[in-house]
Symmetry: C2
Subunit: 367 residues, 2 copies
Amino acid sequence: MFSFFPTARVRPSPFFEAAVAEGMVAANVYNRMIMPTSFGDPEGEYWRLINGVSQWDVGVERQVQLKGPDAGRLAQILSPRDLSACKIGQGKYVPLCNHRGTIINDPILLKLSDDLYWLSIADSDIWLWASAIAAERGLNVEITEPDVSPMALQGPKAEDVVAHVLGDWVRALKYFWFKETEIDGIPIAVQRSGWSKQGGFEIYLRDGTQGTKLWNIFKEAGKPWGIGPGAPATAERTESGLVSVGGDTDDETNPFEVRLGKYVDLDVPDDVVGIGALRKIEAEGPKRHQLGLIFDASMPVPFGAKREDITFDGTKVGVMTHCTWSPRMKANIGYALISTDVKAGATVSVNRANGSMAARLVELPFL
Amino acid sequence: MFSFFPTARVRPSPFFEAAVAEGMVAANVYNRMIMPTSFGDPEGEYWRLINGVSQWDVGVERQVQLKGPDAGRLAQILSPRDLSACKIGQGKYVPLCNHRGTIINDPILLKLSDDLYWLSIADSDIWLWASAIAAERGLNVEITEPDVSPMALQGPKAEDVVAHVLGDWVRALKYFWFKETEIDGIPIAVQRSGWSKQGGFEIYLRDGTQGTKLWNIFKEAGKPWGIGPGAPATAERTESGLVSVGGDTDDETNPFEVRLGKYVDLDVPDDVVGIGALRKIEAEGPKRHQLGLIFDASMPVPFGAKREDITFDGTKVGVMTHCTWSPRMKANIGYALISTDVKAGATVSVNRANGSMAARLVELPFL
């Protein structure tokens, strides 16, 4: 643990002041922006997500906007998932791959109109990537990062809060579908979405000067449901089997290795970036898979920033990409990216700083 | 100020443990890696850089390696600076631009052989960018991030320390030239380089398991010269007029606006990314320029993460991209990215959180 100071290179989100006012005590950096990660009560924040409603500054989920006659064509070229049936107002989870079939990001794609799309991105420079592909292919599309910043309401009571603020129509929104609207004159889009499996919404703020006001509207409205601040929760996302691109993946990871093969449509057009490589990988079968790890013992050395080797019968078979304490399972759990030769049910050794520790491999998700 | 915890997504450098042992108290994130920024004695660290020798973990300067028959061709396609005379063993500072002529990074390019180049990058995903351009153009070149991590020795006494460790031959290295060598069996490359104007070297570690050992070799050798830990110093780089891409630049900034036009050769081949746009910008003349700001008064509100508007005669003419206290000038200084209509010598207003403050515009560098 050490201190961090904002700079011009690493931006705050429009909700930064609200997060500081809420008592933010820790943060990380994501897309060169500050992402709050703790408000000082990790257990309380976890249970609020599981049982109540938690309010998150996820303005770090930058939007890459594709606008123009070729916007839809570029969206499909970037996406190895078939978008031909995607409707206006619909969102889709799309793992983006490079020409070698390696995952480089896994945004939610939002179709706002036939010539306007957003990619609500994970942590890599998709603005650069999309700009390169579009320009090299001579597409007529403008790629920008618009003034759009998501705030999340997550947890089983999130729907009640969002419906209280915006109306009961939000209850009818299907998963990843969204609607453009406004509240107190603040332009927003509302989507059933969010990086947890506890249900909820993301509110896309479309005026970066109104972050504190928007935050406080939901904070006030959520009081009867016990709303409080939180952040994307390592324990919950691990229990739920969500993938963190860049954390769980490396420079060689393809979608089939990390349970994302269902989002790859092998029959998309041949001009989709990486589809040739993905067809070949699928045909040959991936060499690694992602499994869960459950440790028998407590973990005297907290997981830091280094992936730790996993051995089976004395041979290195993969790495542990992260691990965490699960309050619901009352166990230390983690993810393995590991040879497909080693299956769920096996017991492996994780080579930690203070010695090896046994863990059992299980299928994901845990819960 | 808030706390930061490493995760798998945000990597440590091979010098991380050495930096922790040195007493790192603050860090930032750069290229999704942890960069130490303070060891608890800002003034001491500053004067050590100015008068002595400072040791920096700059492993965050990732290398993007171009390898193969088309490596040189790709290097030139990415670089609006003429590389045709670049020799093996030579490095060159190269602002990379997108197709619209916007700066996206400003690496040092190192030519290791005719088919092997490194781009020692600033903070953006040039691995993605270079991969996109190479694949779209069908070039025969492999793009990877090799196991190479720079450590810097900076300050007027750095040469003595590096010569003591490696031999007096290092004194003959010209600026940005480098040599591959080893020390105690650790493979390295040594370059006269570094993100300060106080002179010094960057030692490119080529075996990530040897970071602590390499750190300690130079730490021990430097004791007679008073070596100690430090980090890229905002005050020094501002006084010296160095550009921080992403901090001083935005999504529309071209090289001519931030004093980097001398690194653009308008007669490079037409297939260089962005050269068409850069020729047009140069012909029309840039609309903004980068000047220094000197405040008369102290700064009750420290500069945070937001660019602050600059007004002249009541009209917004640009932004302050950062500011800092200069121990040598004994003044608060900063950078303005501002309309070319407003010239050095003018006094402008910077609209700070607690009110506007007067500052005088000057040409850069300050010192």
